[in-house]
């Protein structure tokens, strides 16, 4: 198609003037039409929300174009920075390469550097589908910090003190929507770098939603940015990924959480395990169907 002529009004200065005029006109229509300077007209029906409540908070962080923006930020800045700072070594990445269902990723927690290292280890495809549980009282007490954290790392506010029901409601929705959930079952960063006791929340989540838990362990993040320091320093880090753990028939959430804790301990010590193969039925059953409580 031929380019429009200079006098057509659709190029150059006249186009700019026209679009500015259009923007001004829209502004006027809104101001007058919606009675910005007068009370809501009496004949309008009572205002209604019309739209059902959103199932989770911070849904915007998992929608386009924020997802694409985050992908670009992580790929262009966060991952190269992590690579330079930590030269991360990843072991057991085969456990997260073929994820068929949403899973919970449970890791130890010694530093703010843990999250970038874990996201690095997950690879592009899984990372893009992973939300990170971030302490609501720490990251979300100030709106701007919460906004930036969610944009940067795809976090959502995870109530450390709300009890199992609060944790379940928010996180289950995310798992059911197909998101993987990265959680730190210790609840807070370790002061010394040593593993702390796991809280039972991870067990509740896994048993309620019938999803697998993949244990992960980060070694070396404590040296990069220990608790109390705000500036990272370069140091080598290793991320180990373990075999997915399934909730056993009749297993309680507490005993499952203990099993997850044990698996993370084993990763810290360097233990490894085997894979599942077979016909489509075996593969299907091995990928743990989504089930609500029966």
């Amino acid at each position: 198609m031929a380019a429009p002529a200079w006098y057509s009004g659709s190029v150059g200065l006249s186009a700019l003037v026209r679009s500015l005029g259009g923007a001004l006109d829209d502004y006027r229509k809104l101001r007058r039409g919606f009675h910005w300077d007068t009370p809501r007209p009496a004949e309008w029906p009572e205002a209604s929300n019309a739209v059902p409540d959103r199932p989770t908070t911070l849904g915007w962080a998992r929608m386009e174009p924020v997802r694409s923006l985050r992908w670009a930020l992580q790929k262009g800045m966060l991952m190269p920075f992590t690579e330079v700072m930590a030269h991360p070594k990843v072991e057991g990445e085969e456990w997260v390469q073929e994820l068929h269902r949403p899973v919970i990723l449970a890791s130890n927690h010694t530093s703010h550097a843990d999250t970038p290292l874990l996201l690095y280890a997950l690879g592009d495809r899984v990372r893009e589908r992973t939300v990170v549980a971030a302490a609501a009282d720490y990251f979300y007490s100030r709106r701007v910090i919460g906004f930036l954290t969610s944009l940067w790392l795809n976090t959502f506010p995870f109530a450390r003190t709300g009890g199992p029901q609060e944790v379940l409601n928010r996180s289950s929705q995310l798992l059911k929507s197909g998101w993987n959930l990265l959680v730190f079952p210790e609840g807070t960063r370790s002061d010394t770098g040593a593993l702390q006791e796991f809280r039972p929340g991870v067990g509740h989540l896994a048993t309620e939603n019938r999803v697998d838990v993949i244990p992960m362990h980060v070694r070396g993040a404590h040296r990069i940015m220990p608790k109390g320091r705000n500036v990272p320093l370069p140091a080598q880090a290793t991320v180990r990924i373990g075999k997915p753990l399934k909730v056993g028939e009749g297993e309680t959430s507490r005993s499952f959480a203990e099993r997850v804790e044990k698996a993370v301990h084993e990763l810290a010590d360097g233990a490894e395990s085997a894979q599942v193969t077979g016909s489509w039925i075996d593969r299907w059953q091995a990928t743990a169907p989504r089930k609500t409580r029966r």
């Binding site: 029906p45 059902p52 989504r290």
Partner: protein, 524 residues
């Protein structure tokens, strides 16, 4: 749930939103016009998985699915394609939830021979990513590509004639489905036109069976397609469906959705203008300016990435007709708006998306199909516009086509519409040639193109409206394209009303269909 409403425009009424392709217009309607708003979204079922399980274990006039499954049997699961719902549903799609449950039961029963077929009919084949979105990661990785694939309506080895109806209509079916011990059909019904016997007879049929009811004559006698009892199209599908039921054991599963069609970022599209909060107004303003300035390709990418947060409102399984009756009840309770009497003029904004352009371009032929085929037919009893009245649509109607998805549309526009816009004439002189063209057939089978005959069906879809209306005016449409379609182009809505007065007289009565979200006007 707040029901739909018909609101009369007065001095204080805020301006009204018109969809305008990948953009919007804010228009002032004449005083006394009425705006027809859809009902608010119904509350979705809290535990869809549990409801699905219940439907499969307690089906309507059929045995529980578990009892129909046995080791060594041949099981086929067919499911609706990406033409539903619109916009595509945010993950998990309800079809995924249903298919997972069915496959789970099949795994427990130890069925080795299982295949999943996307019932695309003469639509384009879906890409791997599009199928993955519908069935979910787990099903996709377990079955794609050997046991999960698109139906091919042009492969002679894959389609079998199974008989003729009492009216002499040929019935063809996918061979795998025909040879299966059980076919489980997983449907998604968004509007009353979908589902029922139409699912299998068109989704797994071929040109020779689909052409029996996709004719100008049938469609002129379908008033409207959105009310199956008054639709000759549906009567024909039911006759074909009964032949299919005699040949194959079918277990039919239908789901319905609420009309929560827009994500949070575009909440204002879901709301009536009087409900717009300051942030809705700000979102509208920002999006309007962005869409006014952005190039079409960028806008298209942006709009097509929107996924709808639909909620499932019902699920039922069992015998096709009984199941469909129940589904229609649920769909109508979400969509129905009582409207008193017809008006001289109906206005409607044409959005960026119709059933035949997901991840694609709404070309001029599809604009006609969406406006005069689908939106015009969203009525029960009689159309909102009176006979001889005028429809005013807003859409940019640019001369643009997706060369991969719509190759036959390009030739239809350039060659056929240049000659005539009369549906009956087009059917008589051109349909067969396009339908049997080896190049279009090749692109349908090997690429992602709609079938060669598809633009004809899109055009016939509007045949009833074209015969019924006095005039059609497109606001903001590209003049040469609009003229090729046989309509009039207007620059502004005010101009369009002036032009409409030439047809319907001074001071016409006006209704505006504020859709999507979709509604079904029950006109008394």
């Amino acid at each position: 749930m707040r029901p739909g409403a018909v609101v009369e425009v007065d001095r204080n009424t805020p301006p009204t939103l018109f969809h305008y392709g990948e953009g919007f217009r804010l228009e002032r309607l004449p005083l006394g016009s009425r705006i027809i708003y859809p009902p608010d979204p119904m509350d979705p079922i809290g535990h869809p998985e549990r409801a699905i399980r219940r439907a499969l274990t307690k089906p309507i006039e059929d045995d529980p699915l578990k009892d129909l499954l046995r080791p060594g049997m041949k099981l086929t699961i067919a499911f609706d394609d990406l033409s539903l719902p619109l916009p595509p549903m945010a993950s998990p799609d309800v079809r995924q939830l249903v298919i997972e449950e069915v496959v789970d039961m099949a795994a427990h029963a130890g069925i080795e021979d299982i295949q999943l077929i996307a019932a695309i009919g003469l639509h384009r084949k879906m890409t791997a990513d599009e199928i993955r979105h519908i069935v979910g990661d787990r099903v996709f990785t377990a079955f794609w590509p050997d046991r999960l694939y698109n139906h091919d309506a042009e492969d002679p080895a894959d389609n079998v004639q199974i008989g003729k109806t009492s009216n002499g209509e040929e019935v063809w079916l996918n061979r795998r489905a025909l040879e299966s011990d059980l076919v489980v059909y997983v449907n998604l019904t968004l509007v009353p036109m979908d589902g029922g016997q139409k699912s299998m007879s068109t989704g797994l049929g071929c040109y020779r069976s689909i052409k029996e009811h996709h004719t100008v004559h049938t469609l002129l006698n379908s008033n409207s397609y959105m009310h199956p009892p008054d639709s000759a199209l549906h009567h024909s599908c039911i006759r074909q469906g009964q032949i299919i039921e005699d040949a194959v054991r079918v277990f039919h599963i239908e789901t319905s959705l609420n009309n929560h069609a827009f994500p949070a970022i575009a909440n204002f599209l879901q709301k009536r203008e009087t409900d717009w909060t300051t942030s809705d107004q700000a979102a509208f303003y920002a999006l309007k300016q962005a869409t006014d300035l952005a190039p079409p390709d960028l806008k298209r990418t942006m709009f097509h990435s929107m996924l709808a947060p639909y909620g499932m409102t019902s699920v039922q399984a069992g015998q096709v007709d009984k199941v469909h009756d129940k589904t229609l009840e649920a769909v109508r309770s979400q969509m129905l708006v009582p409207v008193e009497g017809q008006t001289d003029v109906v206005t409607m904004g044409i959005p960026y998306l119709g059933p035949y352009n997901p991840n694609s371009i709404l070309n001029p032929v599809l604009v006609v199909c969406l406006g005069l085929g689908y939106l015009f037919n969203l009525y029960k009893n009689k159309p909102v516009v009176r006979e001889g009245g005028v429809v005013i649509m807003s859409h940019p109607t640019r001369y643009e086509f997706h060369s991969v998805h719509h190759p036959s549309y390009i030739d239809f526009y350039d060659e056929v519409l240049a000659d005539t816009t009369d549906s009956a004439e087009i059917e008589k002189r051109y349909e067969k040639r396009f339908a049997e063209d080896p190049w279009y057939r090749q692109m349908y089978q090997q690429s992602y193109a709609y079938h060669g005959v598809h633009p004809f069906y899109a055009w016939y879809w509007a045949a009833h409206a074209l015969a019924y209306l006095g005039d059609v005016i497109v606001v903001g449409g590209e003049r040469s394209t609009v003229h090729r379609l046989g309509f009039k182009a207007a620059t502004t809505l005010e101009d369009a009303f002036e032009m409409a007065e030439q047809t319907v007289g001074r001071y016409p009565s006006v209704s505006h269909l504020r859709t999507p979200p979709l509604l079904l006007a029950e006109v008394e």
